[in-house]
Symmetry: C2
Subunit: 459 residues, 2 copies
């Protein structure tokens, strides 16, 4: 998986070596000689990965990483930190600063390429999600929840797969204390399969010593099923088994450690995975929220006309000829214009919202309630007897008339009424015809003095 | 990249062998013994890839493939066909039936795993796109264009990278004739880089003999740059270089052939790539269309209130204090309720659409025009002198009054007028305050007899 890599090192010779290795594997390389320059280049060039030296004059690697990870346009770019020695303290500081991974110099080429290609692949998947999200942003459609909102680890859940005799089992309480996340353990493959079938985990850590199964098979299972594909998988390999690590990362395993793992590092790396999982989850759900917004009336939260038009025909198609009826109720607030004119738009909006609330409270959960125009609403009621539909319509009318609408800047409650037209679906009738008949009945209500329910003619 | 693979073969022994090989590489395997069963399983289990035998009783592999590729829920699943011998005719028939690739039995494991893992990776990327698209479908938001619409190869463009002395250069006219697509050639790496910098190609075929560069580097370049990452890359390797094919597919190259390629097969494989590219392009653009719909008023095609609210503040922020002014124009059709009441909703909708047309024609391209309520509209005009804004408002008013509105079911043109309020932005003023002042001026127009423009008080 090629990509563009930003190499950040103040020593030109180190940059040269990295460039030579990466170019030989067909990566595209750009270079920065300081943290400041790295941030500027990362923003402008949007590389797929950043190899970041820790020791640099000016802002050091940790601070550079922290800034990259808090910049809106750079936070999604994976950062691999390069430490001069295998300094445990540096690794933890780096992970804490938001680094996605790190390598100790001199790093073996295999380790470099394994980590780099896995991170770039994940980044390119997230890019697809970000692309949609950026379009939403440009259109002013950013979801109801902000993408950048922080992650509370207490909301995360982790599965640890290892035998109870394994010393890794001892980390459970430690991870729970440090992160506050929910964590469960599965003893071996069978237990893991059972738990994965019914639970959703944000991350799964798989130990090397399973009495009844093979760690790689569990990882593969997680990656193969659509339901668990989003779970971050971390594996722990005995030092002699590191060749498997390459295959594991090829399979989409997100990270690995050697056995026995340093528990502080295990926790720090788990944090990285939970953060990444959280970010892609947010991108996914923000897109979903945006789509929901497209069919929602922003003022009342009801469905909009677009949604109703698109769903009316399918509701009718699903409607069984032998079953109960399907009814459409058209509603229009009486003399709404004069509310707007005498109390202002703000008051008009309040009336619409309060009306939407009373309307929703007086229909059934399965009814499709939408605002189809300024003060016009439509309710489609599937599977309902004519007499019940009439009762619902009358209940809505009464609920509006009986209690005045209390508005923020208006001392006395405002008296509001609604006119309603009700039509029952006839076999073979098109949705638009049904709506037209409900509309005609609504106009009859208006012409007969308003604040009443009129039934559409049967034919 | 593990995944779930459906193995389709009527011979149990063949299924066993495939299962053993795939399971050893951590793939999850399901089996079907006939084409009919394969289609049923593919629909229900949604595997990541289908290995499909050609020769089977009942419907054969070709017909099975054709049906899978025309089913809405299975068309995106890659199909690799297994032919008994290296039958050129079968390969072409398979590709023609929509197969993504094929292998000749007995196939080398390396070839199997290279093709399988590359196809699964592509599928999982497309799955991300499909997921969004399915949500849109459920919400009734399917884009303005259908995803399943056919591909006209004449709209595709292809780049062939090879030296003019290479016999592959001779295929250009042939591909153009067979597919009708636009095709260009680049002689070597430098020429390819120049063309790729300024052009977008749907697919790129890279030959093995370049006088001035390395084929793999061109492939890497295509995959590394976000602008060209969506281009399908096919490579042609000399038979001795097939080990490179594995690395190439790891890098995201979509397909490869051996040199010299059979030109009919090259064309057939190119078709597969162009189809896949077209499908993912459609998914991307459908999502974009859906997002645009969320900020558009479906009746008039103007922006909706949500968009205006989200963009008003940023328009004001961009507005230079020393520059020309920013103006907001609030518009409301006069006595619109009576049009609806006497001519029906359909006529009311026609009036709104015609008004939106006249309004858009009489403002500037940079002005933000939106329908903010039933018959209420708002225009935000950045960088405009007060006198010009007044001229625009008066022009809109006159354009509505001067010519009656011709409606479908109404014999005589309908006389329509509009009331307008115009406010100029004051330094430091919030967008909502500006709109409120424009609204107040609009009400003044209404109260002074309608069909006029009123300027908001300066303070």
């Amino acid at each position: 998986m090629p990509g563009r890599i930003l190499v950040v090192d103040d020593v030109a010779a180190n940059r040269l070596i990295a460039r030579a290795k990466l170019t030989a594997s067909y990566y595209d390389v750009i270079e920065a000689e300081s943290g400041e320059q790295a941030i500027e280049l990362a923003e402008r060039e949007q590389p797929d990965l950043i190899l970041l030296d820790v020791l640099m004059p000016g802002i050091d690697g940790f601070e550079t990483c922290r800034r990259l990870k808090s910049g809106r346009t750079t936070m999604h770019i994976p950062v691999v930190m390069l430490t001069a020695l295998d300094q445990q303290a540096d690794r933890l500081r780096g992970l804490d600063a938001g680094a996605d991974d790190f390598l100790s110099k001199p790093y073996p080429d295999m380790a470099l390429f394994t980590r780099v290609s896995s991170l770039i692949r994940m980044k390119q998947m997230i890019d697809e999600l970000r692309l949609r999200h950026e379009t939403s942003r440009e259109l002013g459609l950013e979801g109801l929840t902000s993408i950048d909102a922080g992650l509370n680890f207490a909301d995360s859940s982790v599965l640890l797969v290892c035998d109870s005799s394994d010393l890794m089992a001892g980390t459970v309480a430690d991870i729970r204390n440090r992160l506050g996340c929910a964590i469960e353990t599965a003893e071996g493959e069978a237990a893991a399969r059972a738990l994965l079938a019914s639970n959703r985990y944000d991350a799964c850590v798989i130990g090397p010593n399973l009495s009844d199964g093979e760690p790689m098979r569990i990882a593969s299972l997680l990656r193969a099923r659509p339901e668990t594909r989003q779970t971050s998988v971390m594996m722990v390999f005995p030092p002699g088994d590191l060749s498997k690590a390459h295959l594991a990362m090829e399979m989409g395993v997100a990270d690995y450690l050697t056995y026995p793992p340093d528990f502080a590092e295990l926790t720090a790396r788990l944090k990285v995975q939970l953060r990444r999982k959280h970010y892609s989850d947010r991108l996914r759900s923000s897109m979903h929220d945006t789509l929901v917004m497209a069919v929602t009336d922003p003022l009342t939260g009801l469905y909009n006309r677009r949604y109703t038009n698109n769903h009316l025909e399918s509701l009718i198609a699903r409607h069984q000829p032998g079953g109960q009826g399907l009814a459409a109720m058209a509603l229009d607030l009486d003399r709404f214009k004069s509310i707007n004119d005498s109390h202002g738009h703000g008051a008009g909006d309040e009336v619409l919202r309060e009306f939407a609330r009373r309307l929703s409270e007086n229909v059934r959960g399965i009814d499709l309630v939408s605002r189809v125009g300024g003060e016009e609403f439509l309710v489609v009621m599937p599977d309902i007897l004519a007499e019940n539909a009439e009762r619902v319509a009358e209940r809505v009318r009464a609920a509006v008339e009986e209690t005045g609408f209390r508005l923020k800047d208006t001392p006395a409650p405002l008296s509001v009424t609604v006119s309603i037209g009700l039509a029952f679906h006839r076999p073979g009738e098109a949705g638009s015809t049904l709506i037209n008949r409900a509309d005609a009945a609504l106009y009859a209500s208006k012409n007969s003095g308003r604040n009443m329910v009129t039934l559409a003619a049967a034919a």
